[in-house]
């Protein structure tokens, strides 16, 4: 194997040499304080309050009723469908996106940065427009229909493909981020020693990628397991996931007892997945030789690599670009022929009455404001958590790691309704405050920050930190001089995700009452909620702007690259 040093087993790490222990532990606990407090206040407390209200409904606590609800045949059916579609979606996403991760990490070709930004755009699209966009791909008169007469719009395939559409970027960015920094010379060395191309990849690169692969698979699984909009719109009324059912029971029927049981079921499932993930990953993370990504990419060589590049290009074009392209086309398609009429209308106050008191374009400013705030919170809290988790130790820390992932597995409506009944009194009277929006969005952004940064942070060679300490650097200084330069890139990727998550309005924000300053997705939904050509056209134009804003922000992040020398040591 090509590890830089022998793996030290966990027990040795949990008990560092006497003398350094108290200080290291104190630092770790200090780092953990903020994330722990954040999750306690804005996640654990609201969620447990709403679940316990459901479980105590009617005064009593009745375990029998919980079991009876959890084993109802219709609910078991929902659980089964939720699980298998999530597994299938995850497998399909990995299958289709891994070549993309390789191409974007290792091949150097014109338009690479643009492509990297473009694949992330689907991630931010609000489901109200993705429904329209995706039906254009798999529905009547869609691309597949035109080519082969295949219509998938009421089948489970539509759901699976839409999940790939949304999560492609998760795999490309999470896996690709590490892949780009792996030293290609190791794989080359294996090939020199006689290994075939695939064998070299399997025995050298794959094990090194394993942690980020597992992280990506975990994220995709959690996202698809808790899929809401996609299932609702593309699945029609026949397919339903736990998440959709929890939403129905809570928001439509206010049947909190049933919703609480469903939430516990989802919790149990997600907890199991997190535990399995933790077991798989625990012994796989090792110090790797990380290098500057600028040096790992090369021009495509040979027919196979060109073919791969072409294949990835075709997949991205058909699956990721075609649906949004439909929105762009419709935003330009006015009754008078193609033109910018709908875009111009976005800058005007609606004189007819109605949807907006301000020009819809102001939604762009609102969205950016919320997204910046959410990104700041995500990066601060997530970054501190990742730093605290870098040195693996003890059950407590591992439990904390899993805790940080839980918001991805809990229904947004549960969190949103939990906020309502908990954050209503001083000193935390935040229910009607704008700040709740970025805080709720950060709950989804933080897991991304942690998952993206952790594999990279853990791959930093411990000896570098030790060397810094020996030379007299304080832990903070050591972190700044050793860790930060290496993880800056991962930090930017993570910030990009947190930003995108906020722009796309994932999570509990939909369920938070808010003053009338709509964000982009809210404005799109509002325009789509009324009849009339102009409303529809403006909705398409605004959705196009949303994609453009996202792509521009991600491209901008790509520009902040680490200095040329920082990766070399």
């Amino acid at each position: 194997m090509v590890l830089d040093r022998p793996e030290v087993d966990d027990s040795a790490r949990a008990a560092p040499p006497a003398g350094t222990a108290p200080r290291g532990t104190a630092v770790r606990f200090a780092l953990m304080a903020v994330p722990v407090a954040f999750f306690a206040v804005f996640f654990a407390y609201p969620v447990s309050a709403i679940v316990s209200r459901g479980l105590h409904h009617g005064g009593g606590w009745d375990p029998g009723r919980i079991v009876a609800t959890a084993t109802r045949p219709d609910i078991l059916g929902v659980l089964w469908f939720t699980t298998w579609q999530a597994l299938a979606s995850t497998a399909l996403t990995l299958l289709l996106a891994l070549p993309g991760a390789y191409v974007l990490a290792r091949l150097d070709f014109p338009g690479r940065r643009l492509l990297r930004a473009v694949v992330t755009v689907p991630f931010v699209l609000p489901t109200v427009v993705v429904g329209a966009a995706f039906l254009a791909l798999v529905g009547r008169g869609g691309l597949l229909d035109d080519l082969w007469g295949v219509r998938l719009d009421t089948t489970v395939w539509a759901i699976l493909l839409a999940h790939v559409f949304f999560n492609y970027a998760v795999v490309v960015r999470t896996v690709g981020g590490l892949w780009a920094q792996l030293d290609p010379r190791q794989e080359e060395a294996a090939r020199m020693l006689g290994a075939g191309r695939f064998a070299a990849w399997r025995s050298v690169t794959l094990p090194a990628l394993a942690p980020s692969l597992a992280a990506a698979a975990l994220m995709v699984f959690l996202f698809t397991f808790t899929s809401f909009g996609v299932v609702q719109i593309l699945g029609g009324p026949t397919f339903t996931t736990l998440e959709v059912e929890i939403y129905r029971q809570t928001a439509d029927l206010l049947d909190l007892p049933t919703a609480a049981v469903l939430t516990l079921l989802q919790f149990a499932a997600v907890g199991t997945v997190l535990a399995v993930h933790a077991r798989i990953v625990r012994r796989r993370e090792t110090a790797l030789r990380l290098v500057d990504p600028a040096h790992t990419a090369h021009r495509p060589r040979g027919a196979a690599q060109w073919l791969l590049l072409g294949g990835v290009g075709a997949t991205v074009a058909a699956l990721l670009l075609a649906p949004p392209a439909v929105l762009v086309e419709r935003s330009l398609d006015t009754p008078r022929g193609y033109g910018l009429d709908y875009y111009r209308a976005l800058f005007e106050v609606d004189s007819r009455g109605g949807s907006f008191l301000v020009p819809p374009i102001e939604a762009v400013g609102n969205s950016l404001g919320y997204a910046l705030a959410a990104t700041a919170v995500s990066v601060t809290v997530g970054g501190l958590a990742a730093a605290a988790l870098t040195r693996r130790a003890g059950r407590l820390v591992r439990g904390f790691d899993a805790l940080l992932m839980l918001p991805l597995g809990v229904s947004a409506v549960t969190v949103g309704f939990g906020f309502l009944i908990t954050l209503d009194e001083p000193p935390l009277d935040l229910r009607t405050s704008w700040i709740l929006v970025p805080l709720a969005q950060a709950l989804v952004g933080i897991p991304f920050v942690v998952r993206i940064m952790l594999p990279v942070l853990r791959a930093v060679d411990e000896r570098l930190r030790e060397a810094a300490a020996v030379l007299g650097a304080s832990p903070l200084r050591a972190w700044r001089e050793v860790d930060l330069p290496l993880v800056r890139r991962a930090l930017l990727v993570a910030a990009g995700f947190a930003f995108a998550v906020s722009l796309g309005e994932f999570g509990a924000t939909v369920f938070i009452a808010r003053p009338d300053n709509p964000t982009l997705p809210v404005a799109v939904a509002r325009l789509l909620g009324r009849p009339g050509e102009l409303n529809y056209g403006q909705a398409m134009a605004l959705a196009t702007l949303l994609m453009a804003v996202c792509a521009a922000a991600l491209l901008l992040l790509e520009r902040f690259r680490p200095d040329k020398t920082s990766g070399e040591f």
């Binding site: 009324p237 919170v377 009944i421 009607t432 700040i435 009452a513």
Partner: protein, 364 residues
């Protein structure tokens, strides 16, 4: 959790949290933190479809000295459920947007403080569903009806349907798209309309026939109207195939309003024999911090100024007799003579059961 414990937990957690997390976004400005207790602000909690012109809200401020803070709280059902959940510690002073399909749920939960709005005598008795106790005040009405694509029927020289019964005729096979009654408010309204028309024991047979006639069910209005209905802008662009959709009686005038240039005739029409009447109410929330301001706001909601402002903002009809309809509505709107109705108490009793059997008839 009891309130003291909650406060203690809240305080402890907030202290533990310190300023760090909040400081991260403290630099962002433009929001108001926390509740505005009493004073010059009155908070209106409502659903996402609420809209009022700036002028009319200014007029309220000039008349009363109160500024209205609007909190949008999700769709109609979600917004109401949130208020039920936070009963006694409401997010605002007045709630607007509970309709006759959900009214009993609000009243059974004692959400509102009785208040008789000034000028209530101008509101027809048929709209005052809580006329005795006056816990809620009617504000607007609207009809949920099947809309049709004029061009489609003109091209085929086919008479558009007029009644519920027509929709089950073979001539209209595979033409109708409806919303899921379990998840959509027009979907539920249309189901209730069929209950009103065919009776509590007759509507199931009717839906069996509709299903045999190829009715398509989608999750929400946006999808039904923008993607499946051939008469909408979205439908035209995507080549939608269904010329009949469950929407509102006011949809055709809105189609005219939001077209450029405005056409002589709306591209869509209304099947006036397929309508269910929705009445929307407002109420003073129990535990309101600014009760006086709340009362003034409810008075204002039934004032002529607000009532005449509503139609072009929310596309609904006024409930007071003296409010004039805008020209757009008189020209392109329809008069629905006898909409189907079901008593709110019956709806409250049977709604879930009806939706369940509807699902098993239409979706399984």
């Amino acid at each position: 959790m009891n309130s003291q414990l909650r406060r203690a937990v809240g305080t402890a957690l907030a202290t533990a949290l310190g300023a760090t997390a909040l400081a991260a976004c403290g630099g962002e400005s433009g929001g108001t933190g926390g509740q505005d207790g009493g004073g010059s602000t009155v908070t209106l909690v409502t659903h996402d479809s609420f809209a009022a012109s700036e002028e009319v809200l200014k007029e309220f401020t000039e008349q009363t000295g109160y500024t209205v803070k609007v909190l949008k709280s999700g769709d109609a059902g979600t917004a109401l459920n949130k208020e039920i959940l936070t009963k006694g510690s409401p997010q605002g002073d007045v709630f607007f947007g509970v309709d006759n399909t959900l009214l009993s749920r609000a009243l059974d939960n004692d959400l509102f403080t009785p208040y008789e709005a000034k000028g209530l005598d101008r509101v027809a008795a048929e709209f005052q569903l809580d006329g005795e106790k006056k816990r809620v005040t009617p504000v607007d009405t609207g009809d949920i009806c099947v809309n049709y694509d004029r061009e489609f029927f003109a091209e085929r020289k086919l008479e558009p349907p007029r009644t519920f019964a027509d929709l089950a005729e073979p001539a209209y096979k595979d033409m109708l798209v409806v919303e899921n009654a379990a998840t959509s408010s027009p979907g539920l309204g249309f189901l209730l309309g069929t209950v009103g028309a065919f009776g509590e024991d007759g509507w199931q047979d009717y839906w069996t026939k509709l299903r045999a006639n190829g009715v398509k069910v989608v999750d929400g209005w946006e999808q039904a109207y923008n993607e499946e209905f051939s008469g909408s802008a979205g439908g035209r662009q995507s080549g939608a195939e269904r010329p009949l959709v469950v929407s509102y009686a006011s949809s055709p005038p809105v189609e005219v309003l939001y077209a450029e240039p405005q056409p002589e005739e709306a591209p869509t029409g209304v099947a006036t024999g397929t309508c269910f009447r929705q009445i929307e109410f407002a109420g003073l929330l129990d535990g309101a911090k600014n009760e006086k301001g709340g009362k003034a706001l409810i008075d204002f909601l039934v004032s002529t100024a607000f009532q005449e402002d509503m139609p072009l903002n929310m596309f609904v009809h006024p409930v007071v007799a003296d409010a004039k309809l805008p020209e757009l509505f008189t020209e392109h709107g329809v008069v629905v003579e006898e909409p189907a109705t079901v008593a709110p108490a019956t709806i409250a009793d049977k709604r879930e059961q009806w939706v369940r059997s509807w699902s098993s008839i239409v979706l399984k």
